[in-house]
Amino acid sequence: MTVTEDLVSYEDALAAFDPVMGLEVHVELGTKTKMFCGCSTELGAPPNSQTCPTCLGLPGSLPVVNAVGVESAVKIGLALNCEIAEWCRFARKNYFYPDMPKNFQTSQYDEPIAFNGYLDVDVEGETFRVEIERAHMEEDTGKSTHVGGATGRIHGAQHSLLDYNRAGIPLIEIVTKPIVGAGAKAPEVAKAYVAELRELIKALGVSEARMEMGQMRCDVNLSLRPIGREKFGTRSETKNVNSLRSVERAVRFEIQRHAAVLGGGGTIVQETRHFHEEDGSTTSGRIKEEAEDYRYFPEPDLVPVAPAREWVEELRATLPELPRVRRQRLQAEWGISDHEMQSVLNAGAIDPIVATIDAGAPADQARKWWMGELARRANESGTELSALPITAAQVARVCALVAEGTLNDKLARQVIEAVLLGEGDPDQVVEQRGLAIVSDDSALGAAVDEAIAANPGVADKIRDGKVAAAGALVGAVMKATRGQADAARARELILERLGVQG
């Protein structure tokens, strides 16, 4: 049901307008239990099998705060350079919706646990600071499946199915301050921010932040103002933009759409919009005639959260090295360009490479295999690099076998293939497939003699001093030994047999 929208070209839009963005990212925490009850958060269970009186909102039930959820929120706040509240409360956000069992969401309102922070992101070699307004704790809603309508949305559906397994799963909502000054790079900045945030969340170990699983969801707010004007324009809110590429596309589309409306003398309606993966467009959702009144008030069923300063400092001291700092360090250590580092990041190869180096491989070798052969294999099978059935230790072993001369590159690729096929460790594969380089002179010598005998013309040329012709005989030796020969040694033997100095 994509409605055709008038768009102006991106370049024309940017020539007249300055984009202002706001990004709201929801992260599902990876706690074992829900935010306010003891139910499991495991994904994929049968509908409504992970529920209890509290997350079903049964009369009389009460919430109890998940301490791990609070700890995760504080860690995220610290990693985002935020201040951590000394005392804050939960609040009820009141609105009716069937996937919300209590018809209010337990959230935080004017007392977020973390506030006033920033996250630096790199776009095309330039650093851009995204300021963080707040990070607050809340609970997820259940999941509605609307059946019988054309769109899968509630409008037009015959009936809806409700699954409350997700209801009460802890969420952290991270809200940026208005992002100004990104100009034409706005879509890239938005994407880089979400990507950096995802890396950070994963590094903290508080969530796997898999966007395709809905563990991280993004709302994109965008407005345009004529270049030179201070005052922000009216914004649209594009909901549930759930991949990095989509974030970029949604920003780009909305810039072009807003510019078309404003350029045509129209006004932007404040509304929520749906994003369409198929063509990267957005369409109008619900129009906010007046700001929705959620009647927030402090949650009387919960006591305030007061993170002790000593505890906050303890958590700060245990924070891991943050992803951007780590990338900068590794790039310097490996001595590679911004562009190469970006490729490594995009390929999801940082952790495997580091692990391979830790397992004893030289950095350039580790990078070569992960970014080369292994990246190609992952790409072919459509899996994540980290999901390939080979360990960093195995890759490091392959590197070692090459370095000691047991394998050449061609054999090494065969060993890797066999490891991926589950044939065992590199050493086992070498043994079982008999892949080691043949450098033993007697075995190799026989192959060399055969090659000379089979190619008398070439042998004569070499005897006449055309040493370069030896390559043809080496090739024959390699062919005969199915690539397992030590090519350098084979060349030496050939020249020796023919009485020529190499």
């Binding site: 009369p59 009389g60 009460l62 009141n94 069992p101 009647r295 008030f297 069923d301 006591v303």
Partner: protein, 497 residues
């Protein structure tokens, strides 16, 4: 032969423990009494005959095996229909939960069962505990055993009437603005609102979360103390539950020594609107405390004047949110789901049909008070008043050990008299609301009959938070002195039903 329904809880437990009677005999005597008279009183919404007899048999079985019994094992109890009971209907006095069978027990229910207390059934109440007369029950009013044409108080009128008509020696109430104490006062029984957080709210259907508090109801101060001890204590399922030892309430109830105790009479609880006979009995009580060796002084709590107004902003605000979950989608009543209507329409029709007028009034009041643009003026200001009231209490408790006042300004009024006048109804809780706003402990116990109508009058005692034992010390002293003066417990004067 002893009438088992006339015994106190402590006496009943002793007779069961000694084998003089059995828990089953006691349960049967009460079930028979309910069958005989509750048609007239209408204290119960649901009588759980099977469950009660099974619980009684379990107690008798334990005794037969020589297992140790708790101090209230085998004693019957009437449970306010606001606590969830696994497998037994829980309606909160509302049509919207008609037929709902909870899948879980409230913490309090569980504690009662663990103590071997026999739950006879669920008692009538104002819908969602909103009211002071039990007339707001969707299932019809309850009569006051002293005069069946009068109200038994509210919201816990079913529990107070069950006690006063000897259908149960123990009952459970909940007190948000006086719903334990005011019914106790107008039926000549004892009711205690413990310190906020003393008794778990898990499984107690919420009206106003920051004010609601479950508590014991009985015919004597000692029985109330025994029940208090059985139901109080920290509950990890209720974040607002107090994590501290239960005060020594039973010991205090057995002592009853008030010599040297400083008692404050709250100046603001008197004057216009207070029935003459109520003030007369109250003044007697103060005099009695003096005779018993207490030191009585007058104290002023000026902010109490605003308590009622603050209460009627805070309680409706919280209730407007707490009651949002009743949408007809997951449990309870569902109206208008004929296959043509949207979920939103069905929710709307269900709430229209399922909630009574007082509940709707409070949901609307609260929705308004929390609205953007009005929040600061209403909810915000009410919270400030709440702080002022807490400070008044703190100042007063700097001078005295307990405060006393009449529990309610008048005796039981006739059913229907205030039904159309919410403001008049709200005044019944004038003296009880401040203790809820500040989270203090408070008790009501009988202090005689008003001369003009011969109906019971309640004396309210208020203690600081966590000092619930003081209520029992003072209550036991007053109770003993009055019983000695009258020659019998006050309830002996109630008409026979």
């Amino acid at each position: 032969m002893t009438d088992l329904t006339r015994l106190t809880a402590a006496e009943t437990a002793a007779k069961i423990a000694s084998g003089e009677t059995s828990a089953v005999e006691v349960a049967k005597a009460h079930l028979d009494r309910i069958a005989a008279i509750d048609e007239k009183v209408h204290a119960f919404l649901h009588v759980d005959t099977e469950g009660a007899l099974a619980a009684a048999r379990a107690v008798d079985g334990k005794r037969a095996k020589g297992e140790k019994l708790g101090p209230l094992a085998g004693v019957p109890l009437a449970l306010k229909d606001i606590f969830t009971t696994e497998g037994v209907p829980t309606t909160v006095g509302s049509k919207i939960l008609e037929g709902w069978i909870p899948p879980y027990d409230a913490t309090l229910t569980r504690k009662l069962k663990d103590a071997g207390i026999v739950i006879l059934g669920k008692t009538n109440m104002d819908e969602f505990a909103m009211g002071s007369s039990t007339e707001n029950s969707a299932y019809g009013p309850t009569g006051n055993p002293w005069d069946l044409t009068r109200i038994p108080g509210g919201s816990g009128g079913g529990s107070s009437a069950a006690l006063a008509s000897f259908q149960a020696p123990l009952a459970i109430g909940t007190d948000t603005g006086g719903s334990i104490r005011q019914p106790a006062a107008v039926t000549g029984t004892v009711g205690v609102k413990p310190t906020y957080g003393a008794v778990s709210r898990y499984g107690m259907v919420a009206f106003s979360s920051s004010l609601d508090q479950g508590g014991p109801c009985a015919r004597t101060v000692l029985d109330a103390a025994l029940l208090h001890e059985a139901i109080a204590g920290h509950d990890p399922l209720d974040s607002t539950s107090i994590d501290a030892p239960v005060p020594p309430v039973v010991e205090a109830a057995r002592s009853g020594d008030v010599r040297g105790l400083r008692v404050g009479v709250v100046k603001e609880f008197a004057g216009e609107g207070y029935q003459a006979g109520v003030m007369e009995r109250f003044n007697d009580s103060v005099e009695m405390l003096r005779e018993l060796g207490a030191e009585v002084v007058e104290v002023s709590c000026p902010s109490f004047t605003y308590a009622l107004a603050a209460y009627y902003l805070i309680a409706p605000s919280e209730c407007s949110s707490n009651l949002a979950r009743f949408d007809g989608l997951r449990y309870g009543l569902r109206t208008g789901d004929d296959g043509t209507r949207s979920a939103e329409e069905v929710t709307s029709l269900t709430r229209e049909a399922g909630f009574g007028p007082e509940v709707k009034r409070r949901i609307m009041l609260g929705t308004y008070a929390l609205s953007s643009g009005y929040y600061d003026a209403y909810y915000g200001s009410a919270q400030k008043v709440r702080t002022l009231i807490t400070r008044d209490f703190e100042r007063a408790f700097g001078e005295v050990d307990v405060l006393v006042s009449p529990t309610t300004p008048t005796t039981a009024f006739p059913i229907g008299e205030r039904a159309d006048d919410p403001m008049a109804m709200y005044l019944a809780d004038l003296c009880t609301i401040p203790a809820n706003l500040a989270g203090n402990a408070a008790m009501s116990l009988p202090c005689g009959l008003a001369p003009e109508d011969g109906l019971p009058v309640g004396l309210q005692i208020i203690a600081p938070a966590l000092a619930d034992d003081r209520l029992y010390r003072v209550g036991a002293a007053v109770e003993a002195a009055f019983t000695a003066r009258w020659g019998h417990p006050l309830l002996e004067e109630a008409p026979t039903l």
